[in-house]
């Protein structure tokens, strides 16, 4: 239905970089060089907080100031697209800024740019083969153990571990999103990294820095495909398990019975960008007489009210752009598998419009365009038997 206006860039060659000490240090060294050469003016990068139990985004001009920068952090406490939105939602600046994000964060950033909440013009997006993120709570319980565990994923190229977030386990979009440059880790010769340009912007960065990109990508692609297949299988299984949890009012009520109405899921969602949400506004609140009337009719009324309305309303508002980053599930205090549920619903709605969020910046949001002849199945519901005058 939505044919993208501009063709997708398909990467053909990459630059092989040898790993010195660790992947982390190698990537940091690249950024240091790029900043010194003034290819970029600043970089937005995850940095471990002084207490050592979490990560935060820092925008910095001199990367050597940051001892604890971690281009690939084990957790995702703040969605990178939100950080980019804070940085650029009032328009682009004069500085060229590099940012290194997980593929799902980049997809969210692309969706936000379509929603005019992120300006990508002066941003250079870097991504990497993402092994997934650890659940926030698991990590904060024992950060050193989390670090050790995450490190082991890289040493043994384990991209399908039990300990990562459930949505990461089923993420078949963990590699090269619509970014400018991508660090390929999988299927690359030992002690090497592939730096792959993925847009003309990315190519110009490498040209400017004098880095040749002539290495073949086939073995990286092969490995990525292999893992994609495994993850697709997990995805099918997860959807199979989620389906009975959300089908029918009774199942929905059971699944969301634990919901305390904190709206954390909405607050952290990168796609829920509205300054004020309908569900937080006074419009969605009623007088006590109204509630009494409702209670009388139904024989009782649950408080907080409208839990299913909140969830289904959010599904219809943001599921087309849902990138399954799992932020909502990470912050749910009652451990409802929100992200898996939303991923399941989003899969259905996105397929209905043949839309993939974050796939292509030139692809308009489904609700922002239309075709005169479409959605025949809706037409059928229009009582076609009713004759026209």
């Amino acid at each position: 239905m939505n044919t993208a206006e501009n063709e997708l860039y398909s990467p053909k060659k990459g630059a092989m970089i040898s790993i010195k000490n660790s992947i982390r240090e190698t990537i940091l060294r690249f950024f240091k060089e790029a900043l010194e050469k003034k290819t970029f003016d600043a970089i937005l990068i995850p940095v471990k907080v002084p207490a050592g139990d979490s990560y935060t985004w820092i925008l910095v001009e001199d990367i050597s100031l940051l001892k604890n920068a971690a281009p690939i952090a084990p957790i995702m406490p703040v969605q990178g697209a939100n950080a980019l939105s804070s940085l650029t939602r009032k328009g682009k600046g004069n500085l060229k800024i590099a940012a290194i994000l997980r593929p799902c964060e980049i997809r969210a950033a692309i969706e936000l740019s379509k929603l005019e909440q992120v300006n990508l013009e002066t941003l250079y997006l870097f991504s990497f083969d993402c092994p997934g993120a650890l659940p926030l709570l698991d990590y904060t319980k024992n950060p050193p153990k989390g670090e050790e565990l995450f490190e082991s994923f890289f040493n043994e190229n384990k991209w399908n571990e039990e300990q990562i977030k459930p949505v990461c386990k089923m993420c078949d979009n963990f590699s090269i999103p619509n970014c400018d440059l991508h660090f390929g880790i999988l299927g690359v010769e030992k002690n090497n990294l592939l730096l792959i340009p993925n847009s003309s912007k990315g190519e110009s960065v490498l040209n400017e820095m004098g880095i040749a990109y002539k290495n073949d990508l086939s073995s990286w692609k092969k490995k990525v495909n292999e893992i994609e297949k495994e993850k697709e299988k997990t995805k099918k299984e997860t959807y199979h398990n989620i389906q009975p949890m959300v089908e029918g009012l009774d199942s929905l009520l059971q699944t969301f019975a634990k919901c305390i109405g904190c709206h954390n899921c909405m607050t952290v969602c990168p796609i829920c960008y509205c300054r004020q949400c309908y569900f937080d506004s006074e419009v969605s609140k009623f007088t006590s007489d109204d509630y009494l009337l409702r209670a009388e009719k139904r024989g009782g009324l649950r408080f907080p009210t409208d839990i299913i309305l909140f969830q289904s309303g959010r599904m219809s508002h943001m599921s087309l752009s849902c990138v399954s980053c799992g932020m909502c599930e990470d912050v749910c205090p009652t451990s409802i598998p929100v992200a898996q549920i939303f991923s399941y619903v989003a899969d259905k709605t996105q397929k209905a419009f043949e839309y993939k969020p974050g796939r292509n910046i030139g692809e308009p949001l489904p609700l922002k365009e239309y075709k005169e002849e479409e959605l025949q199945e809706i037409k059928k519901s229009l009582n076609e038997s009713v004759g026209q005058e």
């Binding site: 959300v246 089908e247 029918g248 009012l249 929905l252 009520l253 019975a257 309908y278 409702r294 209670a295 009719k297 139904r298 024989g299 009782g300 009324l301 649950r302 409208d306 839990i307 299913i308 309305l309 289904s312 309303g313 599904m315 219809s316 508002h317 599921s319 087309l320 399941y344 619903v345 259905k348 709605t349 209905a352 419009f353 489904p366 609700l367 239309y370 075709k371 005169e372 479409e374 959605l375 809706i378 519901s381 229009l382 009582n383 038997s385 009713v386 004759g387 026209q388 005058e389």
Partner: protein, 141 residues
């Protein structure tokens, strides 16, 4: 004899076509079942999914959204957007299996008083067969 169930249907009618069509049906004294509570909106694309979901979850037996025929929108393309929004909403409701059959989108122009009566009567019949919205008796909602 058992009294026949008269469903409560909320109808969101667009000001320029369907609302005028309803008006015409009324002044032509056409027989219309007394099931529809009409809410006039300026355009069918104004119907946000939250409005429909709120209505449905508060216990309306059916929801009818009616606007101008495609190509005839007073604002040129509002009804095309409405159709997309409706398709999305229907997909969500279908996925959650909360009675997608209770939602309907129809096109009724300002001159189609007769069609308006037929749309309302047919939809009412359909909802009658479905029975009352079970949500009405659920205290956990």
């Amino acid at each position: 004899m058992k009294e026949q169930f008269t469903p409560k249907i909320v109808g969101f009618l667009c000001n320029w076509c369907s609302y005028a069509g309803a008006d015409l049906a009324g002044s032509a004294k056409l027989e219309i079942l007394p099931s529809l509570t009409v809410i006039r909106v300026m355009c069918s694309s104004r119907i946000d999914s939250n409005l429909v979901l709120t209505t449905l979850l508060l216990g309306a037996d059916g929801i009818l959204i009616a606007g101008c025929h495609p190509g005839d929108c007073h604002y040129e393309k509002g009804n095309y957007y409405a159709r997309r929004r409706f398709a999305l909403l229907r997909k969500v409701v279908e996925t959650l299996k909360i009675d997608p059959e209770r939602l309907q989108l129809s096109w009724v122009s300002a001159s189609e008083g007769k069609r308006y009566a037929e749309v309302v009567n047919q939809f009412t019949d359909k909802i009658r067969k479905l029975g009352p919205n079970p949500i009405q008796t659920n205290p956990y909602l």
